[in-house]
Symmetry: C2
Subunit: 230 residues, 2 copies
DNA sequence: ATCGGTATACTTGTCGACAACTCTAAAGTA
DNA sequence: TACTTTAGAGTTGTCGACAAGTATACCGAT
């Protein structure tokens, strides 16, 4: 990646505690490769870097461990990072969750959801016009979260929450790549979201499944081209 | 449930820190209903109850929050608990994960896995003979975890880890119920595991999927009968 | 009696300190 | 030189304390 985002968007940290802030900053650094795979992290060092005590750092490391970005060992935490395989796996999981969720939405009133999604797409277009990467990726994220939330399945929502922040971060970097590839690429991304909405509007289970499958398969090949091959 | 387990098996806490221990004890209390839905938990109170400082309690509450058993609010944590719906949802997720995993196992060498699973089933039978509920449920748990681990899909494994302990606890209580229903019921549970292995041995994707689907559908109806209806 | 304001007790987030443990590297011995 | 032992620096887990913020109960006024 040419110019990777160096700091987590401050707007997204609006009402976040110290622990969450540190987690977001570290997460971004790990995902974009600033902190390389295999690095050994120490609570003391991170606390010193951020100018806090170890308590919030501890919380952050636990969070990152739950997200699978680091592995907590007896001494220090080892950075696992996100290579091509890990990104692929994340897409696998996202697909699995959305597939499950949309399956359950086939025989339900999706009117309100569809209106919300269209609204979000409008905001994506606006963000695209202004070349606002942060805003665009946030709306993209909201789009998928809105779909998942609509299923009203607490346990599945919990799974989503466990990867929510990670997905958000990956999307931020991905969107950067998409924007770098030019306007037509951005338009294509928006188009894919429209396709999802269209499938959803059909209310046909098979068509919805097909739509979701294509979306993720397509998203991944798009991304694959802009990944460091390791 | 007639006689619910009151304490988390000490053997399962062998190398667990204080935080994890507290999390396990609270988890069990929430799942078996000792701590009712809606209860408000305070870090200070729990710390006093367990005779520790707030640090491990804090860690435990965060864990339980990640598992969706409680909701952290500005003041206190509210217990959400596991009613019939939550159990059903947990089974949904378990089915989704195992379905994904086994799908990927169709075209793979499952020889070693099958041998391991058969070994586990043997231990289940032994535990059944000795009426050892703790051992039995642990083997049952290991059975499913072994299958999931075999897929070697880190991200999916991470999802599993996020519900691992909860599943373990629910299984412990469920197994208690199964044993209470008599020897034939226990034998039936073992039989269902054999069916899974048989399906796996067939190496046929459709048959495996069918096997997994039946397993979870069946497991849930078994359980439903022994749940407080709320 | 009801409503508004204040005091109070309780809550969380963060901090610095300490003991117990682990890895490392240097020093001593064969 | 190769190996064991030992001293040291660094690490985590846990603790108690404090500030900042919040719900609650009490008290006064209308």
């Amino acid at each position: 990646m040419a110019t990777a985002t160096n700091h987590f968007p401050a707007a997204w940290l609006k009402s976040a505690g110290l622990g969450e802030t540190i987690a977001c900053e570290l997460r971004l650094a790990i995902v974009n490769g600033s902190i390389p795979h295999g690095e050994k992290l120490s609570e003391n060092r991170i606390a010193a870097d951020f100018g806090t005590s170890r308590s919030p750092v501890r919380e952050a490391l636990k969070t990152l461990s739950n997200e699978g970005l680091i592995r907590l060992e007896r001494m220090g935490a080892i950075v696992l990072g996100m290579g091509a395989r890990e990104i692929q796996e994340l897409y696998d999981v996202r697909y699995t969750i959305e597939s499950f969720v949309q399956e359950r939405m086939a025989e339900r009133d999706t009117g309100a959801l569809i209106r919300l999604l269209e609204q979000i797409i409008d905001k994506m277009e606006l963000a695209a016009k202004h070349r606002d990467i942060v805003e665009f990726s946030y709306r993209d994220f909201s789009f998928h979260e809105a779909i998942i939330a609509e299923a009203k399945h607490n346990r599945m929502m919990q799974l989503w929450k466990s990867i929510r922040q990670l997905v958000m971060t990956v999307m931020l970097l991905t969107t950067e790549e998409v924007f770098a590839q030019g306007e037509s690429k951005v338009a294509a991304v928006i188009g894919k979201h429209r396709t999802i909405v269209a499938a959803l509007r059909s209310n046909d289970s098979a068509q919805i499944q097909q739509g979701v499958r294509e979306y993720f398969a397509d998203s991944y090949v798009t991304l694959r081209n802009s990944l460091p091959e390791d």
